[in-house]
Symmetry: C2
Subunit: 474 residues, 2 copies
């Protein structure tokens, strides 16, 4: 194994366990070439988009069926060895890292859309299906799946982290949009949770318990999701504001009035400059809201009028509208390219992303003070936000070889989280706890609630083999 | 204690445990007159709207604060004695019955709306607040809480059963509308789950685990709920149809088109006759849909036009519209009085209510076959449904002194549930499992999922004192 790098002292719960040769032999016997111990494969499965580094898993199993996952887990359980499910590796919080060693179970080949029930607005997919693939495959039915984290993540990974994204302000998150699951338990059994009925009061909500459990209570193998009719009319707009405050106050009023806006994203002036440099967009270099309205033609028009009126009160101007798919795509380029534009604005940098979410009335307070702190730090950063939900991300762009910069970024993040919690918010709106926010979770939920989580974890995974060392220490 | 009545052989998990005098003394010392052992009080807390009868709890504690609940639970835990939370007693499934003895903790005096955060569209209430009271208290803010089971239930009870009602088709159920909880655990500790942020990925979703857990994992003492702006325009309509099938097919198409209808209730011809007799409404004696549209004036008009067009295709006629609150109330009288009208249609009867919910495309299949079976049985019944969600209730009106009739009703319910499950549905859309549906839960969820529920229950309540004997056997 590689020696831990200089960063690994920051990794909590770093206690690699031995992976006995007997397990590797058993996996090889069961999976043949679909079990790999090649270093390149292991390394690819031993990192994600977080800034942590630990040695990779001892082996990678490429599962092609639920039975494959169940068998791999059962074999690992026999040897008390951790298992970590892997979709596409887009976690931002170290979810995929083998901090306690173990094997990676790659579900990317489980990529079938199993059944589209267009009449019920539901679809059942395997865990490795990607969100863009899903939308491609259901498009002909006139339906779509709205949850869109930035990355083209797997539906399994999105389920595990309770993902959301730009459409959540109208359509909710994975919490609201997963109807039923198939899950492999810690002993390698296969259970089903939920049904395709829209609602149910039948016992404990195991579906919602699994959603957001980050692979620590079970490995999700199949997911039944809600779909929505593609709106008859879609209209997008960008609008510039004299200040972040003006943009945010506009959003707050839109939400409080109950306008069913489908997307409302904030992009700060730093980010506008970065995307202008990256994508030659020629956008006005001011804070900006990107918005989208879904509905009937007259409904969309009505929503847009209300929002334009509110924006005008706060000095919003340079409204630009788009109704065709091509025009909309152009407007959304700024948002979609923000992350890459930011990374490229400082060659060699890594981004540390924050993820606080606060009640909408506290959004301005939370954001503005944190912007002032970030500006003062002199660390380059970008700021984007699903502000209709009160959720926003600072991306601090740091030199990975400068520990001082990391320290500054962590300090900014700590202050931001403390502020969000004091305002009734959460440390993570959509990325999950993973490795990075364990301390924050205790601050947020309190020792009693985290103890209850631990009790559930110990009961459902007595050997602590399901993605151990994530969310909380045991 | 009373001897079990003739019905109690039907009560599963009937194993009363002794309540030691030492506990009663300790409760009396702690709560004084707020702990009652008077038979009238115990009996009032030992039954609900279900048809089960068992001896009442040994004592009733009237809690006035979270600390009261915590202390009562801690004392009961010390003596291994069950505790059963009590709101208003409107459970339909025997949730409140002391099948294993114990004490009732009445939270009806915990009836304060603690904080209305109108700017965030949230409210925090004590568990004993009633839903109508809540709406009265927030009305001046221009907001409302949409979840409306038939009864004027307590918010704590609605949380415990994952309640929904007529508005769920648009606004979701308690699952979607509870943001955060304060909960007393099995050891008498107080924890908080969730925050006021609209979304979060911070650890296990304990909020959703508690919602619908029927008092078996903790006693809910405070609830933070989402509120919604009172719609600018509300329009209600009734429409008669030549057959249930025509009404149901109209609903299916409305939902599949994504019309954001706020309410759509089916009332069968039996029920129309009963409410005509009860409330002198003079309604056309045909199956009927009651609908409500929420939105802007033009949005409501647009929705109504689409629905009227679809209804016409299926022979819907006699559309009657209402836009003022008074007219709407009159139209909804038929729905609101259905239960009482039905009960009064057969003096001395008790209703056994079914609660299946199926994917919308299967609604006609599920309903029509069950209607045919019910008609054939000759047992009087009424049928109402939150059909936009695929959820409906047969109420079989039986003579409680005729075991044969109960047998027929149970047989009809069994067939209905089996049909709903085979169509991808659930045995309970909104009433909960309680005592009556334990067997159905296993059929629906499978032994593996129910075992996972048991494992969680045992871990969080090792002495099995929290409303024991409900949902599943241990």
């Amino acid at each position: 194994m590689n020696a831990p790098t200089a960063l690994s002292h920051l990794v909590p719960e770093f206690h690699p366990r031995a992976v006995p040769q007997a397990l590797l032999d058993a996996l090889a016997a069961r999976f043949g070439a679909r079990c790999s111990t090649a270093m390149a494969v292991r390394e690819q499965h031993g990192r994600d988009e977080s800034s942590f580094e630990v040695p990779p898993p001892a082996a990678v199993v490429f599962a092609e069926s639920t039975q494959d996952v169940a068998d791999a887990v059962a074999l690992a359980a026999k040897h008390d060895v951790p298992v970590i499910p892997f979709g596409v590796g887009s976690s931002l919080e170290g979810h995929l890292l083998a901090v306690q060693g173990g094997i990676s179970i790659d579900v990317s080949r489980m990529n079938k859309v199993l059944s589209v029930n267009a009449d019920d607005l539901t679809v059942t997919v395997q865990a490795g299906v990607l969100r863009k693939q899903l939308n491609e495959e259901v498009k002909s039915t006139g339906l779509f799946f709205p949850i869109d984290p930035g990355a083209d993540a797997s539906i399994g990974g999105m389920t595990a982290t309770r993902a959301s994204g730009t459409n959540a302000v109208r359509y909710g998150t994975m919490r609201e949009n997963v109807l039923a699951l198939e899950v492999v338990t810690a002993s390698g059994e296969v259970i089903r949770t939920g049904t395709r009925a829209k609602k149910s009061s039948a016992g404990y909500d195991l579906t919602r318990l699994m959603v957001g459990s980050e692979g620590t209570l079970g490995i999700v193998t199949e997911i039944t999701l809600r779909l929505y009719p593609i709106p008859e009319a879609i209209s997008a707009a960008i609008c510039s504001f004299p200040s972040i405050e003006a943009a945010v106050r506009t959003v707050i009023q839109v939400i409080q009035l109950g306008v069913p806006i489908a997307r409302v994203e904030l992009i700060d002036v730093n980010t506008v400059r970065m995307v202008n440099a990256h994508s030659k967009l020629g956008l006005r270099e001011e804070p900006m809201l990107l918005m989208e309205f879904h509905g009937s033609p007259s409904g969309v028009k009505e929503q847009a009028e209300v929002v334009q009126e509110i924006a005008a009160e706060f000095g919003g101007n340079a409204f630009e509208w788009a109704t065709t798919p091509e025009e909309r795509t152009r407007l959304w380029t700024a948002r979609h390219n923000a992350y890459f534009a930011a990374i490229q604005s400082r060659p060699g940098c890594r981004a540390i992303s924050t993820d606080t979410c606060v009640p909408i009335s506290r959004l301005a307070d939370c954001l503005l003070d944190s912007v002032a702190e970030a500006d003062e730090s002199k660390l380059p950063y970008f700021l984007v936000g699903h502000v209709g939900d009160g959720n926003f991300h600072f991306g601090y762009l740091l030199d990975p070889n400068d520990p001082k910069e990391r320290e500054v970024a962590e300090e900014l993040n700590h202050k931001l989280v403390a502020r969000a919690l004091s305002l009734g918010g959460t440390c993570t709106g959509e990325h999950g706890v993973g490795l990075h926010k364990m301390g924050f979770l205790v601050d947020e939920a309190g020792a009693g609630a985290v103890d209850m989580m631990r009790t559930i974890k110990r009961a459902l995974d007595p050997k602590n083999i399901l993605n151990p060392g994530k969310i909380f220490s045991l």
